[in-house]
């Protein structure tokens, strides 16, 4: 990350300005919230998937959690399109824009909320029995069960928490532009997953940490910001991002096999 940072400061004069960096932080906040909450789901061993319905379907219903996530994502996007007819929804109440455009403690509200989510997630994982059970459920669910941990319940809670955080992030994101659109946030989940995986949280569960995801997030966002500043074609950004995710996952399974 330091290399990326110094390289970008070197080649782009705009990069290392407080305005640009605050902007980067602001852009990271929404993806970051989702990524941090998703980290908990991954550590608990329930890859991807957000929300109670997904949690129930993949733990109790034994449906593969990737499929649950993809399917329910399609369902919800479809419903949103049905409701809005595909048009932009403009929110006229000026209060709606307050959380998305406001400022708190010198940073935008969403950065403040992101910082809170990071702190809360770290605290839960590192200092509480719930956090311990999250790691145990991902590491060896059978052993956790024999030790009296209610693995299904722990996983469902991580799904619900990440669903709530994602919903908050969605409202913030809509509030920022004071409009809602059914297909807004496309690619958001890919960025979140990229941040988690590049940070080194394992898709097979049991390994990972909040700080790792924050680290991965900044890497993803800084590279994206750098591409923008250097006027790289956005299509190449996607290619690059996909390749990095693939590399991170490959590295993960390679180090597991060793």
């Amino acid at each position: 990350m330091l290399i990326v940072f110094s390289y970008l400061s070197f080649v782009s004069p705009v990069f290392f300005t407080s305005r640009n960096l605050l902007n980067v932080l602001d852009q990271s906040a929404i993806v970051g919230m989702i990524a941090v909450a998703g980290t908990m789901v991954l550590i608990a061993g329930g890859l991807g998937g957000f929300g109670l319905v997904n949690g129930l379907a993949s733990t109790k219903g034994r449906v593969n959690s990737i499929i649950t996530t993809l399917a329910s994502g399609i369902i919800i996007r479809g419903l949103a399109l049905v409701l809005t007819g595909g048009a932009l929804v403009r929110v006229l109440d000026p209060n709606f824009a307050v959380p998305g455009q406001g400022v708190m403690l010198g940073v935008t509200t969403q950065v403040a909320i992101f910082a809170f989510v990071v702190a809360a997630a770290w605290f839960l994982l590192a200092r509480t029995t719930f956090g311990r059970y999250v790691y145990a459920s991902g590491g060896n669910p059978e052993a956790a069960r024999l030790s009296g941990v209610q693995v299904d319940r722990v996983r469902i809670i991580t799904f619900v928490v990440s669903g709530l955080v994602a919903a908050t992030a969605g409202v913030l994101s809509a509030s920022r532009v004071a409009t809602g659109q059914a297909d807004a946030g496309m690619g958001l989940e890919i960025n979140a997953i990229a941040a988690i995986l590049i940070g080194g949280t394992s898709i097979s569960g049991g390994e990972g940490a909040v700080w790792r995801t924050v680290f991965g997030l900044f890497l993803v966002v800084l590279v994206g910001n750098g591409f923008n500043l250097l006027d790289v074609n956005p299509i190449w950004q996607q290619v690059f991002q996909g390749a990095v995710i693939l590399g991170a996952v490959a590295l993960d399974s390679w180090s597991k096999r060793r």
């Binding site: 200092r127 509480t128 311990r132 956790a144 049991g206």
Partner: protein
């Protein structure tokens, strides 16, 4: 015994009787346990005594019912019929939590440890110590270190290293220490040396002897007759769901054990008479 109407007298007699009973009674006494799964009868009226301060080896061929029987004691299965006495008192063990409450801990064959957690985290998994609602890491670390030291499990570099980095013998030692941690009185081990090398097997056998010397009752399931004769004070043999013999280990030799395991001792009884 004449009827006694004085309350104090009853008390006195009662306490004296329990005391006498405790001397003679095994810690765990199982009588007439039946268990079937669908049409398959797995256990037929099994009796077993597990005295405190003794290692009892449960032997039997594959499918003899060792695992099913063990699970009936540890609360994973419910027996269809039969009685279980703990310290002479009849008890019902409905689930593994009931078993833990009595002081029965099981070390599972597949090692119920989480590779990604460290030794302390594993030993306290499911029973973490808290201070003001938060994990009390220092306290848990201290208690885990004490337990490991008292059992002379000293080969591990740090009790904060993840279990994934331990050898098979060290893992087994941690699993056993985890079971002992909870003031348990009976520790059940399912094939504890099956996956271990010579040196590591020795570590685990020594550990089992230490538990016995502490006055715990130990039941070990094993296929390895070397281990059985090395560590067992008593041997009990299951054959096709029936307990065919249980006696002091000194009454057995290798051939006799094999005979009971493979034929149920049909030939042996004739030879003895």
């Amino acid at each position: 015994m004449p009827p006694c109407n004085v309350r104090g007298g009853i008390f006195f007699l009662g306490s004296k009787m329990t005391k006498m009973a405790q001397v003679a009674e095994p810690l765990l006494k199982v009588r007439g346990v039946d268990k079937h799964f669908g049409a398959v009868q797995a256990l037929y009226g099994v009796d077993l005594d597990l005295p405190a301060g003794k290692v009892t080896a449960l032997c039997g061929d594959n499918g003899a019912g060792k695992s099913v029987f063990t699970k009936c004691i540890s609360g994973v299965y419910q027996p269809d019929h039969g009685e279980v006495f703990w310290d002479g008192q009849p008890v019902h063990i409905h689930n593994t939590r009931d078993a833990s409450r009595l002081g029965i801990e099981t070390v599972y064959q597949d090692l119920a440890l989480c590779d990604n957690l460290d030794i302390v985290q594993n030993m306290f998994l499911g029973r973490e110590r808290l201070s003001r609602y938060l994990l009390d890491e220092d306290d848990m670390e201290r208690a885990a270190a004490e337990t490991l030291a008292s059992l002379k499990v000293t080969t591990v570099r740090s009790i904060r290293q993840p279990v994934a980095s331990l050898s098979g013998g060290q893992r087994q030692s941690v699993a056993i220490s985890k079971a002992v941690m909870w003031n348990s009185k009976l520790v059940i081990m399912d094939e504890p040396t099956a996956a271990l090398g010579v040196v590591q097997t020795r570590q685990v056998l020594d550990l089992m002897k230490r538990l016995r010397d502490r006055g715990l009752a130990v039941m070990v399931i094993s296929h390895n007759l070397n281990d059985v004769f090395e560590v067992a004070d008593r041997i009990a043999i299951l054959y096709l769901g029936r307990m065919v013999i249980q006696d002091d280990a000194s009454k057995f030799d290798r051939q006799r054990v094999v005979e009971y395991m493979t034929t149920g001792g049909k030939g042996m009884k004739a030879a003895a008479n």
